[in-house]
């Protein structure tokens, strides 16, 4: 148990259950690298002729700096070569080989933040640095599933995860979803009647702002799913990159967008980690949607004995995320913004995403009534539409023809197929409302309506392209100010 998690353990908190019987055999037999044990030898006066590490005198970087925007104002953070800056290590240390856990300053912030955000209910949890959730999914799955095994997933799921499973020859078993995500009774039934060659040991899900359905599990739903996982002794891989982009329901009567003050008051739905009394949740967090995607930085929260496995997996692959990135993030979060500034940044994002969601939902309701049904997302960036193709619904070519018609009309959304485990039960489109200019929401949905109408047959299928709205010249890009005001 790391010193920091020892400090945060509350009196009387239980330790995680030992779930190592769920590891695949190769993981059960595991030993820490003897090489690393040698390298970790701590005698103070030791002269280290062992490490194949370059001397920092050969690193040509003397300083790293970044301009950071906070509430519309710019500030600078920097990292110096040989001295720590605030709590963050020196550039020489960040640029050197380090172990597979992540830089101390980076992990320390994330430990503190995870404690505040989730208050884990068992004592011996810890965090480890990751390169983002896609890599973490593959690593987490590899602890519990080997070739030929099965893993429970939501019936619609993140294609990156599904591809990863395919390449690892781990077979997804779909559990049905409703507007709140995984249906606990379906999960229970699936597990109870399982007759596969190897047992079900793990479940992968995206409980908040789910990709692709946009569904967010309520607290009750999470408790019910956790109870089923306990009953069937499953590990839960909680992939939660949209967790901190929660914004709650649409304002009553389609009123004004929530202000940042109102957003600040809104509690977040508790995570599965926060309900985890057994230590069966492996939580995957990422900076991709809350700082920037190509930082390639995130973290995993799990029981300490599982983190030892992740460390070994890291050390035989990525080692750890880029030291420059960890240094910049640590300097930003530890020293520039602190927990308060970080929470403020998250509230700013939530407010901006809420405004986009409000506008998008309003326009979907306006233009797609009778053509599509959807659940209002309360988190994240996805709106998942079930398309009613009317008389064409039974036609197996209807969906490809719809996509084609959409392209002709000048709009693109993701079709349901790449997300579906098994045949797609209907016609679905996933719209992402985070990136496109909000000025283009209405034209996009008008074009979609036309394309759907064409396929439904209310407009002739081979009508000339003039039937579609004239492509509208994009207006000067509208900036959605990150501080929430439009």
């Amino acid at each position: 148990m790391s010193p920091d998690s020892a400090k945060t353990a509350m009196a009387g908190q239980p330790l995680a259950k030992d779930l190592s019987h769920l590891f695949i055999p190769a993981q059960r037999a595991h030993q820490k690298s003897p090489f690393k044990a040698v390298m970790g030898n701590p005698t103070l006066e030791m002269i280290n002729m062992a490490g194949g590490m370059p001397s920092p005198s050969t690193f040509p970087l003397v300083q790293l700096q970044a301009t950071v925007r906070t509430a519309g104002q710019d500030g600078t953070l920097s990292l110096e070569r040989t001295q720590s800056s605030g709590t963050t290590e020196s550039l020489d240390k960040l640029l050197q080989y380090n172990d597979g856990r992540g830089m101390d300053s980076y992990c320390r912030f994330l430990r503190r933040f995870t404690e505040l955000a989730h208050r884990p209910q068992y004592a011996d949890w810890d965090v480890i640095a990751s390169c983002g959730n896609t890599d973490s999914i593959a690593k987490a799955v590899s602890l519990f599933c080997q070739q030929g095994d099965h893993i429970i997933v939501e019936q619609f799921s993140f294609p990156g995860a599904l591809c990863s499973l395919k390449f690892a020859n781990v077979k997804p078993v779909a559990v049905s979803m409703d507007s709140e995500g995984v249906v606990p009774e379906a999960l229970d039934g699936l597990c109870s009647s399982w007759a596969g060659a190897t047992p079900l040991r793990a479940m992968y899900l995206v409980p908040t702002g789910q990709n692709p359905t946009g569904a967010t599990m309520s607290l009750e739903r999470r408790q019910a799913v956790y109870a089923v996982a306990q009953k069937h002794d499953l590990v839960i891989i909680e992939d939660d990159p949209y967790y901190f982009l929660q914004f709650g329901p649409i304002p009553a009567g389609q009123g004004a967008d929530a202000t940042i003050d109102e957003i600040r008051q809104q509690p977040l739905v508790p995570s599965l980690l926060s309900l985890d009394t057994d230590g069966r949740v492996i939580r995957l967090d990422s900076f991709s949607k809350i700082l920037a995607p190509n930082l390639r930085c995130g973290w995993i929260t799990a029981p300490a004995y599982m983190q030892d496995r992740f460390q070994i997996l890291n050390e035989s692959t990525i080692l750890q995320p880029s030291g420059l990135t960890q240094g910049v993030i640590s300097r930003l979060l530890n020293d520039t913004w602190g927990i308060e500034g970080w929470n403020e940044h998250l509230c700013t994002l939530r407010t901006a995403y809420a405004a986009r969601r409000n506008l998008f939902v309003k326009l979907v309701s306006k233009h797609l009534a009778g053509l599509a049904t959807f659940t209002v997302p309360t988190s994240g960036m996805f709106l998942w539409m079930k398309i009613d193709l009317g008389p064409a619904a039974a036609d197996p070519t209807a969906m490809p023809r719809l996509l084609d018609a959409m392209k002709k009309c000048g709009v693109m959304m993701a079709p349901g197929m790449p997300f579906s485990v098994g045949p797609v039960p209907g016609h679905f489109l996933r719209a992402a409302f985070a990136l496109a200019d909000t000025d283009m929401f209405e034209p996009a949905l008008q074009r979609l309506a036309l394309a759907i109408a064409a396929i439904r047959g209310s407009t002739p299928l081979d009508a000339p392209p003039a039937m579609c709205a004239e492509p509208i010249e994009p207006a000067a890009p509208a900036r959605i100010a990150v501080n929430g005001s439009t």
């Binding site: 040698v38 002729m49 991709s288 000048g410």
Partner: protein, 472 residues
């Protein structure tokens, strides 16, 4: 100029996992998104760059070829990536947004240009794909051709991370004897000739041809030709793991023989006089070359690249897309800006010469001291490159046949406050008692300060004394 031949097709040897690796269905939608500017795309789950709180990222970097110790702050280059794209590099938001498994184009392009300059691969359809460094690249290359139950050919002493990765995957290792130049071609050929597991034919060999970890051996060009010929004869794909490639210098000369120090280091190879790589003689397209910035810029950047036939780099791209995606945008941004706009290819070469000088100076001093203090205690081949010295401990007659002798040697080193790595940790044959007693230890002269060299070596001498001195 005659066109180069197309690579041979080794995809028949792909594992099942390699076969099914394909373009992510969502990423393949992006071509529609970019094709038509009037098309409104709500297809990609990308956050808006306005939400990124970074307005600029930059580094102060030494001018090409100058060590940081020798330059003043006025000379430092400002390597800054801003919201505005330039002629040669993308905007900051492009470096920070999702991309694909090929990395940000300007970074990748530099790697490609550099590879052409240094290696000029002799087949037409070679390509580069980004990596997070050679350990991750190795796993991705390995998984194309080796699956549970298969065997990877390796040097008899090799990089511990390879051993630690391969074993849990259920992949075995077949070690091949080495000499002072690395893997012995006749031994490789013999291994293949005698291989009897027809269910798991040998397909892949892994080697570190320059300043090998741990032995420090560097293959001559003749040796590389001989190894390549065996690979051709036996149908092998080669992983050329080459992180020390640029750390080549000249043969050692004792300090006493060196007159002028400047003159001593006047002929460092740069990039024009390096021992040619296996990639540069790879007429078939059977070499997967792993390059890394770890030893030539800094390990913490976590970036490098892989060179191979395009049908192989495509597979690695797809694997990247279901794992790490690409190297950190901040690392790519700084490296790309530095290489493309400030150092350029010529500046990069000047930097490499300066790194070579640093390592040459270290090698010379370290070897001077070893020859002075360790005579009769160890045997070693003087390395022409890299950072490792591989000592064979000259155990006396009592210790030679004593089980556990090397553990005593190691304990003695610790007691004398000097840390080297026991040889058994580099053995693919695992840590059996027999392997543990092989009398080898590895020293690295890259990291300790040069002032500490003499202290370290005298401590080592003291530590070895009881085990190497002849019994009266």
């Amino acid at each position: 100029m005659p066109t180069k031949p197309h690579s041979q097709d080794f995809s028949g040897f792909f594992t099942e996992a390699a076969r099914v690796r394909d373009n992510s269905p969502l990423k393949s939608l992006t071509k529609y998104m970019n094709a038509d500017p009037t098309l409104v795309s709500l297809g990609a789950g990308l956050p808006h760059p306005d939400t990124y709180p970074f307005a600029q990222v930059g580094a102060a970097v030494a001018p090409a070829g100058k060590s940081i110790a020798s330059c003043s702050s006025a000379e430092l280059l400002d390597v800054s990536v801003t919201p505005a794209a330039s002629n040669s590099i993308e905007s900051l938001s492009k470096f920070l947004q999702y991309g694909n498994g090929r990395g940000v184009p300007s970074y990748s392009r530099f790697a490609q240009e550099h590879t052409e300059r240094v290696h000029s691969p002799p087949y037409a359809d070679w390509d580069v794909v980004v990596s997070l460094g050679n350990t991750d690249a190795f796993v991705k290359a390995l998984m194309l051709f080796c699956d549970r139950g298969d065997t990877l050919i390796v040097d008899e002493w090799t990089y511990p991370a390879i051993i630690g990765t391969v074993v849990p995957m259920g992949i075995r290792m077949a070690p091949v004897r080495m000499d002072s130049q690395g893997m012995v071609p006749e031994a490789l050929d013999q291994l293949c000739a005698e291989w009897s597991d027809s269910a798991h034919p040998l397909r892949m060999a892994y080697m570190i041809p320059t300043a090998q970890n741990p032995t420090g051996a560097t293959m001559s060009l003749d040796r590389k030709h001989a190894i390549y010929a065996v690979a051709q004869r036996r149908g092998l794909v080669i992983i050329e793991d080459d992180p020390y490639y640029y750390l080549q210098f000249e043969a050692y000369r004792p300090r006493s023989e060196i007159g002028d120090l400047e003159e001593r280091y006047a002929n460092l190879p740069g990039i024009s006089s390096l021992v040619p790589s296996l990639l540069s003689i790879d007429v078939d397209g059977r070499v997967i070359r792993l390059d890394s910035f770890s030893k030539v810029l800094a390990p913490g950047l976590r970036c490098g690249w892989v060179t191979a036939p395009k049908y192989i780099t495509d597979k690695i791209q797809f694997h990247n897309e279901t794992s790490i995606q690409q190297p950190a945008g901040v690392s790519q941004a700084i490296v790309s800006k530095l290489m493309n706009e400030q150092w350029g290819h010529d500046g990069w070469e000047r930097h490499l010469v300066q790194i070579q000088r640093e390592y040459a100076v270290r090698r010379d001093r370290f070897v001077d001291l070893c020859l002075q203090h360790l005579k009769g205690k160890v045997d070693f081949t003087i390395p022409d490159a890299g950072m490792f010295l591989w000592f064979r401990v000259l155990l006396n007659s009592d210790m030679q046949n004593k089980p556990g002798a090397m553990q005593e040697v190691f304990d003695s080193m610790i007691a004398n406050h000097v840390l080297l790595v026991p040889g058994y940790m580099f053995s693919p044959q695992g840590a059996s008692p027999e392997v543990r007693d092989k009398p080898y230890i590895r020293a690295a002269f890259s990291y300790a300060s040069m002032d500490d060299f003499e202290v370290a070596i005298t401590r080592l001498a003291r530590a070895l004394e009881p085990f190497t001195s002849q019994v009266a």
